[in-house]
């Protein structure tokens, strides 16, 4: 469960917006300052660890660039909430240890709201408006990866470790 202040965006926040072309040649640490610049120049400088990144449809569409979730993670994003995600971005978030929550009602969430995301129960409570929204349950095999903190620790425990034993 996490509680935090909402940064709210709309549909189709694509990977070129999250990780603009000019930023990709930089290290993730340096590139993070460019994140979202073309739609919200304030975001990268003002996002605080513990805030929650909320968007509507098709979050992370476009490129497979993992620099997109990595730049957000560098700025302190741990939990994302969107109506739906582009599939590569969704997997990338999980693989690097972030939690992408699917909630069909993010259109009711506004910038600055304080929300509490209970991803185990699949519920979001909006403290500012008093509303509760249901989220999609995260599939069990993905929960397995999340519980290890991402794909690499998961593979080390579940695949590579086992290979070495046999």
């Amino acid at each position: 469960m996490v509680k935090g202040k909402v940064w709210k965006y709309g549909n189709n926040i694509n990977t070129d917006i999250i990780a603009p072309p000019e930023s990709i040649e930089l290290s993730v640490k340096d590139a993070a300052a460019w994140s979202m610049r073309n739609v919200d120049p304030v975001f990268a400088g003002a996002y605080k660890s513990g805030d929650i990144f909320v968007a509507e449809h098709n979050l992370g569409s476009g490129s497979s660039r993992e620099t997109a979730p990595l730049m957000l993670r560098e700025l302190g994003v741990r939990v994302l909430v969107a109506m739906d995600y582009a599939r590569i971005f969704y997997r990338n978030c999980i693989n690097v240890g972030m939690i992408p929550v699917e909630c069909p009602e993010t259109n009711k969430i506004r910038k600055g709201d304080i929300i509490e995301v209970d991803f185990a129960e699949g519920k979001i409570f909006n403290e500012t408006t008093g509303e509760t929204y249901l989220c999609n349950k995260i599939p069990p095999h993905i929960v397995g990866i999340m519980e290890h903190g991402g794909l690499i620790p998961y593979l080390m425990a579940e695949k590579i470790g086992k290979k070495q034993i046999h």
Binding site: N14, D16, I24, N38, E66, L70, A86, I152
Partner: protein, 424 residues
């Protein structure tokens, strides 16, 4: 119950007789492709060190430095150098640079075969579906897992049946089919799914045109875009690689189940334009206002193949590009560059006033060789027109076919190529 192409390839990759949409499988990867932009330098090298394992099979790995070649600055040069050195240090013999955008190089060099599972660190890895290969894009951490284990978990996707019948009219190309399909499906309409293209029109397309369709499948959110094995596939494999096997076992069964079917009529298709800043913001060319153009870009893994440049050259032959605009041509691979050079296609384009660039991803994603400035407009044969994609956030990218790009180069505004074919 019958299987779709996706189900057949993924059943094969997971060592099973049969799989069904919705199942989670662990699949063996036949080929893993990395580029310079998102390859070893982004997490992958570090992750492999953390895991303490070598690359599972260096012969199944291909690395292609294409986004930052030629490098525009020291940072890009060092990324290419890092990629090259990492490939050598890890025994990857299939390393290419300055050979062109990765997907075309993968096809040119025979790294893609029907029925295989190919993953790449670039989202347009869906291109390989033109050869009936399940090609899909993955992130860098995902790739680290593939390199360590040779496997990847996948949810077997449901498939959308895309049917095109009828013959394309003169002046209309595969890119127009691609854009029209994306408009109908929407830019997230195929998320978690696969698009399977079939029908009389698709069977009539050559391999260059087919790749234009499957390349852009990801623009609907699709996991893969697939075209069944047929005579065109067989002839391509024979001619280029002397491969003669029959791969029709990967074609869909007659009773395969689809999550939806879309049917289209090629006879009535007009040239299409995707307006800024979304790929599904598509219009018939007659339905858009006059748009003045600053730059025309003919190139990329979507629209810089031999057939694309040949068609553009046929339209531009003996004409000159409009004053005050620049027209950049980047053939989709060195092999295509050389063929176009031998056949006089580059000469025709250059004499019309086009600038011939080397084979690179550069301008398509706004990292070098043709970025656009504030408020400028580019007509491009590429695959994305996102905000700021090719340069300034106030610029606009219009996606079009090579013929529409060529016609627009002549007039200086977005132009229907059929205007130049009438009475010709």
């Amino acid at each position: 119950m019958g299987m779709t192409v996706s189900e057949k390839i993924l059943a094969h990759a997971s060592g099973r007789e049969c799989v069904q949409a919705g199942e989670i499988i662990w699949a063996k990867v036949d080929c893993a492709m990395m580029d310079d932009l998102l390859g070893p330098r982004v997490e992958i090298a570090d992750n492999l060190e953390t895991m303490g394992v070598p690359v599972w099979d260096p012969e199944k790995v291909v690395i292609i430095s294409d986004h930052y070649t030629p490098p525009a600055n020291i940072k890009q040069a060092n990324i290419v150098k890092y990629t090259r050195d990492w490939a050598a240090a890890n025994g990857i013999r299939n390393y290419y640079e300055f050979a062109g955008p990765c997907h075309q190089v993968m096809m040119d060099k025979g790294h893609v075969l029907p029925g295989t599972l190919v993953v790449g660190t670039d989202s347009h890895s869906t291109t390989y579906g033109a050869l009936c290969s399940f090609g899909t894009g993955i992130g860098s951490t995902e790739m680290s897992g593939v390199l360590a284990t040779g496997e990847i978990w996948l949810k077997v996707p449901a498939s959308i049946n895309i049917r095109w019948d009828g013959k394309l009219r003169d002046g209309v190309m595969a890119k127009d089919i691609s854009l029209k399909t994306i408009k109908a499906i929407g830019h997230s309409g195929a998320t978690y799914k696969t698009m399977e293209y079939r029908g009389e029109t698709i069977r009539g397309l050559n391999m260059d045109e087919r790749m234009c369709l499957t390349n852009m499948a990801v623009e609907t959110g699709a996991k893969a875009g697939l075209i069944e094995y047929d005579e065109v596939t067989a002839a391509y494999l024979k001619e280029n690689f002397n491969i003669t096997g029959d791969f029709s076992r990967f074609n869909a069964d007659a009773d395969a189940v689809y999550s939806g079917t879309f049917t289209f009529d090629a006879e009535t298709l007009a040239p299409q334009i995707a307006c800024p800043h979304e790929v599904d913001n598509v219009f018939d060319i007659d339905d858009i206002d006059r748009v003045r153009v600053d730059q025309v870009y003919l190139g990329s893994c979507t629209g810089g193949r031999y057939y694309d440049l040949k068609m553009a050259a046929d339209l531009l032959r003996g004409k000159t590009v409009a004053p005050g605009i620049r027209v950049l041509v980047s053939p989709a691979s060195r092999d295509i560059y050389n063929r176009c050079m031998r056949e006089g296609i580059l000469e025709t384009l250059a004499e019309a006033g086009c600038t011939i660039l080397c084979s690179t991803c550069g301008a398509c994603l706004g990292v070098h060789s043709g970025n656009i400035g504030d408020n400028e407009v580019c007509v491009a044969t590429t695959n994305r027109n996102f905000l700021g994609r090719m340069g300034s956030k106030s610029s606009g990218v219009y996606l079009a076919s090579p013929l529409t790009a060529a016609a627009s180069a002549i007039t200086g505004y977005i132009t229907d190529p059929r205007d130049f074919l009438k009475g010709a």
